[in-house]
Every structure is written in structure tokens, then in C-alpha cells.
């Protein structure tokens, strides 16, 4: 079994030169914590993750030398300080905060190799061709969909969309 048999296609690309705000909105809308990013020519640029973004939401010193701080509650920050950093963050580009040092797979890569990468804490494995063009991605869910044919990816997508709509309606009613 190889990677192409289970990989999920990329429906909407996120570009490295886009503003981080676009990526944040996309991740919130799709409930995705880890998203592959491409350059404008379609080549794979890296992964943007919730943890990358959260690191940027911290005071720079904390994210740069986090190991030096066991406890940060003494900072006693207020909402405006965090909001200020968040608005600065939205104006930066995706390329500034993505992680380009990630393992990738090819369509013919044995699936077991991708599973090893996921086991090693890389929750999304981008699948690229020989020119490094992003073709799709493999995650824990895509592996499950691939192995369990009774679970249909499209059906799950539809269920998730319905759930989102329901939440939005509830929010509006409130």
C-alpha cells in the first residue's frame, strides 16, 4: 500500500506570500491545526501549524527562549496586550511562520513510511511529486479513511460542514 492510495487531495491551497490572517481564518473555518502551504508555482513550502501561530502570539522572548521559563503567570498580561500581538501577527506573511523543515512523502512512498512520520509527531505528511509540487497530504484521518472503506471521506466532510452550519446558526440565535 502506498501513499497515493490514502492521501487527501488539496482542495484549496494556502500560499506562503499570503497574510497570516488568511491562514488563521482558513484554519478556524476548517478546524485544521496543521496545513500544508505552497509557493505560487505549486511547490511545497512548508507546514503552518497552530503551535507556530501560538508561538507568535507570545512575547518574542518567551517563544525564543521558552526553556528558560518554567512559569509565566507572573506576567499578568491583560487582553489588550494579547490582542495587540494578535493583530500584528495577522499582518505578517504565512511564509514567516511556517515550518519548512518537515518530512515529505511521494505518491509511491510505502504508506508505512508515512505512518512512521506521523508516529514521530508530524501529524500531517505532505505528498509531493518529483518537482516538489504538492499533490496531497496524509494524516491520521486520511489513513483511517483509506483503510476503512466504510467511512467515506466526502460523507465525513458533509457531516462536518453540517455541524459547522449548525454551530453558526446557534451563534446567530444567541
Amino acid at each position: 500500500m502506498d501513499c497515493k492510495s490514502v492521501m487527501a487531495p488539496i482542495k484549496k491551497a494556502l500560499y506562503a506570500d499570503e497574510l497570516a490572517g488568511v491562514a488563521i481564518d482558513f484554519m478556524v473555518e476548517k478546524h485544521m491545526g496543521l496545513v500544508p502551504v505552497t509557493n505560487r508555482d505549486g511547490t511545497f513550502a512548508g507546514l503552518i501549524s497552530g503551535s507556530c501561530l501560538m508561538a507568535m502570539m507570545l512575547p518574542r522572548t518567551l517563544s525564543a527562549i521558552s526553556g528558560s521559563f518554567h512559569n509565566t503567570s507572573f506576567l499578568n498580561e491583560n487582553a489588550s496586550e494579547m490582542e495587540e500581538r494578535f493583530s500584528v501577527l495577522r499582518e505578517r506573511t504565512v511564509g514567516e511562520m511556517l515550518d519548512s523543515q518537515v518530512q515529505v512523502a511521494h505518491p509511491e512512498t510505502p504508506l508505512i513510511d508515512a505512518l512512521m512520520m506521523i508516529k514521530d509527531q508530524q501529524n500531517v505528511v505532505p505528498v509531493v511529486d518529483e518537482q516538489n509540487v504538492l499533490l496531497g497530504a496524509i494524516s491520521f484521518f486520511s489513513v483511517l479513511y483509506g483503510l476503512n472503506k466504510e467511512v467515506d471521506r466526502e460523507q465525513v466532510e458533509r457531516m462536518k460542514a453540517a455541524e459547522r452550519r449548525e454551530r453558526e446558526t446557534e451563534k446567530e440565535q444567541h
Binding site: P59, R60, T61, L62, A64, I65, S68, F69, H70, N71, S73, F74, L75, N76, E77, N78, E81
Partner: protein, 449 residues
């Protein structure tokens, strides 16, 4: 340091002259250390290995050359500090001191310099800067002021503070261990001078950086909102570890009367603290806690010291250091005062350029060899203080002068504020020269006038 019996019975490889061979190994090792191309622990262990393999000294002589008092003192203090720091007490003091000056950036820089100098005297300066500099960087980020005055003043203060005591800086630990000079002797001979130099430096810091260190009221308010009490993670641990730390320092002072060396005191204190923090834990949790504390020990640094002691043991055994000692006496005409000044300046300039630890490790047997010519152990004491002053204060002469400098520069770089060699040199070197001039006057007035 001088645990080796001088003997010519050892078979040296290929019948080479031991003096030349040991000198080549020493120069080669120090040369490679200077390039920083290879890890310093590896270089020291390789050099030490060569000394034994080439037959300059035997394995038992090599082990005897390792100063176990120094190794035990460093290990014990590393364990105590690693446990104490998890309580958050050092962050508490740094934040509290920043708030005492109403978050005025200039005032904070002065307060943090004083805190660092004080911590450096009673902990080691590497640990001190690792604890204080991150808080300093966080404060400058909040205040939106230049981080460089803070980074540079932290380096200078840590080296000045470390000069004051037996345990403040590795050169002092080496000297104290080799000579038997006590904690009290260190603090009474070097402490007043370290304080004086700090008092001279603070106004200079103010003059240098007062224009850069201005922050708006709003930014200062963000610092005043800091809740220092929240930095304490474990009050009980804080009390226990501070008590043990105080007892250990007390032990350093009184131990001399009972022939208890600082290494024993520090290791016993570490064991006591480990017992206290694991007292209520089950067996597996105890193992985990002890393992965590021991992983915090800088084993590479201890191995570096061990290798270094063996390399120096090789040249000491071959008689090189006696020759160098005699040469220095020739230059100074055997005058104790001139020898002290020469030692002070030589060690200051050398420590600016190279790691002061190998330098002092080499100088110790050399100074010991001058004892007879200078008139005995008492006449040698000012030379020891001069060596300690030169080596510790000389560390301020350049960015590579002391390990603490390199650590601060590394922290600054990671936080996006790299310090260049020249940037530091322009401030550090003149201030180092000033501190050595003050030290020279002090040595003259106190010991020779």
C-alpha cells in the same frame, strides 16, 4: 593540582623528551580549544588521554592529578542550584527588584546588575546569567528599549560578582582548591574590591546608556503589573533549598576549622537537599527526581576539568611549569610586588583572549613553584589574589573571555538581539582595563604599601 610525584622513571613514547612532548600536547590542546572548532570537553579528554598514552604520566598519576575537591564542589553546587531554581525564587528576586525602581529602565538595569553580581558571588555566574538574563530580555521587550545595555551590563556584573568569593567563578574554585585558601579568606580579600569595582561601574553604566533607556508610562505599567509572587512555583521547596544553600555557605566558612573541604560540604548539601525533596515520594518517584536533578549537572564541564587537570599534570610532571615560574621570577627580579602585578596583568590580558579556566589551571602549579623564591606561603598569597582577580575580571575584556559572556550572547541571539564581538569589546575591554587598574592599586595598598 599537585597530586603528582615528580619522577623521571616513566617511559616516554619513542624516548622523546618529556618536557617537549608535554609542552607540545599542552600548546596543541590549548590551540585547538582557542579555535573553538571542536567541543572543548572532547579536546581536553583527548589531550589528557595523550598525556597518559604517551607515557608522560601513568594512569594512577593522571587520576591523582584530577582535583576531586574542585569536581565535587562544582557537582554539589550544580545539584543544589538546579533544584533551587525550580522553585522560582531567582525570578522572584529579579522581578521584585525591577518593581522597586518603578519599572524605570535605567533603574532596572542597575538593579539587575546588582542582583546578578550578588547571585554570581554565591552561585556560579553561568547559572546566574541563565536565570536573570531571560527575565531582563522579557522586561526590555515589554519596555520597548534597547536590550544591549542590559545584556552587556549583565556580563560585566556577573564577572565582577563572581570575583568576590571562592565559589563565584571557576578560576577561584581552582585556586581555592589547589591552595587551601578558605571561603572566608576569599571573601575578605576579594569581596571588598569586587564591591568597589561594582560601585565604580554603575555610574559608568548610567553615563553610557541613560539616553537609550527611556520608556513610556504605559510600558512601565506593564512591568508594574508583573506579579512576582506568581513566579514562586513551590514555596516549600524554596524554603528548603534556600536553607540548604545558606547552610552550605555557612559550611564553607566554618569547615576550614574542622578540615572539611568545600567539595565535601557542597556534595553533602546536595545529598541533603535531594533527601528533602524526595522524602515524601515513593521509590519510583524518588528515582525520577534524583535522575532529573543529576541530568542538570554539567557533566561535559566536569569532564573538561578532568581532562585539563591531566594535561596540566603532564607539563607539571615534566617540569615545564617550574621553568616558566623561574622565568617569571627572573623578569620580576624575584620582587613579590612586581610578580603580583605581572601576574595580575598577564592573567587579565590572557583571560580576555582565551578561556580563563585552562589558563588558571596552568598558572596554579607555576605560581606554586615560586613559593620558595618569594619567601614562603604567606608571601605567595597576594600572588594568588592577583591571579584570581586577573582571571575573573579579565573575563570582561572580550565576548569570549568567560563562559558567562558566551551564554549571554547566545541568549541574546536567540531572542533576536545578537551582540557582536566588536560591540562588546568597545565597552568591555576599557572597563576591564579600568577594573584591573583599580585591582592593581588595591593589591599595592593592601599587601605592599
Amino acid at each position: 593540582m599537585s597530586g603528582i610525584e615528580h619522577s623521571t622513571e616513566q617511559m616516554v613514547i619513542f624516548g622523546l623528551d618529556p618536557l617537549w612532548l608535554s609542552t607540545v600536547i599542552l600548546i596543541l590542546s590549548y590551540g585547538v580549544l582557542l579555535t573553538e572548532r571542536f567541543n572543548r570537553t572532547v579536546v581536553a579528554l583527548l589531550g589528557g588521554g595523550l598525556v597518559v598514552l604517551s607515557g608522560l604520566i601513568s594512569q594512577s598519576q593522571a587520576f591523582a592529578a584530577i582535583d576531586m575537591n574542585t569536581i565535587a564542589l562544582l557537582t554539589g553546587m550544580m545539584i543544589i542550584v538546579s533544584i533551587t531554581r525550580t522553585s522560582g525564587v531567582f525570578e522572584f528576586v529579579a522581578i521584585w527588584s525591577a518593581k522597586q525602581v518603578n519599572a524605570d529602565p535605567l533603574g532596572i538595569m542597575i538593579m539587575l546588575s546588582l542582583v546578578t553580581a550578588l547571585f554570581s558571588a554565591f552561585l556560579d555566574n553561568l547559572t546566574t546569567v541563565l536565570l536573570v538574563v531571560p527575565i531582563a530580555l522579557l522586561i526590555v521587550e515589554k519596555l520597548e528599549v534597547s536590550p544591549y545595555p542590559f545584556l552587556i551590563s549583565q556580563i560585566l556584573a556577573s564577572n565582577i560578582g563572581g570575583t568576590a568569593t571562592l565559589i563565584g567563578d571557576p578560576p577561584n574554585i581552582l585556586i581555592g582548591s589547589a591552595t587551601g585558601l578558605t571561603f572566608l579568606q576569599f571573601i575578605t580579600n576579594l569581596g571588598p574590591l569586587a564591591l568597589l569595582i561594582l560601585i565604580v561601574m554603575i555610574p559608568i553604566f548610567v553615563l553610557l546608556w541613560r539616553k537609550e533607556l527611556v520608556a513610556s508610562d504605559e510600558k512601565r505599567a506593564s512591568i508594574m503589573r508583573f506579579r512576582e509572587a506568581d513566579s514562586i512555583r513551590d514555596k516549600w521547596l524554596m524554603i528548603a533549598s534556600l536553607m540548604v544553600l545558606s547552610l552550605v555557605i555557612f559550611g564553607f566558612i566554618v569547615g576550614e576549622h574542622y578540615d572539611i573541604r568545600p567539595g565535601t560540604t557542597a556534595m553533602f548539601g546536595a545529598a541533603m537537599l535531594l533527601l528533602i525533596v524526595t522524602f515524601n515520594l515513593n521509590s519510583s518517584e524518588q528515582s525520577k527526581q534524583v535522575h532529573t536533578a543529576l541530568t542538570e549537572v554539567e557533566w561535559p564541564a566536569l569532564m573538561f576539568f578532568a581532562g585539563l587537570f591531566i594535561i596540566v599534570g603532564g607539563v607539571e610532571h615534566a617540569g615545564l611549569l617550574n621553568i616558566l615560574g623561574a622565568s617569571l621570577l627572573e623578569i620580576t627580579d624575584g620582587d613579590p610586588a612586581t610578580t603580583a602585578y605581572a601576574t595580575l596583568w598577564l592573567s587579565a590580558l590572557a583571560s580576555s583572549a582565551v578561556d580563563n579556566i585552562p589558563f588558571v589551571a596552568t598558572m596554579i602549579p607555576m605560581v606554586e613553584s615560586m613559593e620558595g623564591a618569594l619567601g614562603g606561603a604567606d608571601a605567595l598569597q597576594p600572588i594568588w589574589w592577583s591571579l584570581a582577580l586577573g582571571a575573573c575580571l579579565g573575563g570582561n575584556g572580550s565576548l569570549v573571555g568567560a563562559a558567562a559572556n558566551v551564554v549571554v550572547s547566545g541568549l541574546g541571539e536567540r531572542a533576536g538581539h545578537p551582540i557582536s564581538f566588536v560591540q562588546f569589546f568597545k565597552i568591555g575591554f576599557p572597563l576591564m582595563l579600568l577594573s584591573i587598574i583599580i585591582a592593581n592599586i588595591y593589591v599595592y595598598l593592601r599587601y605592599y604599601s
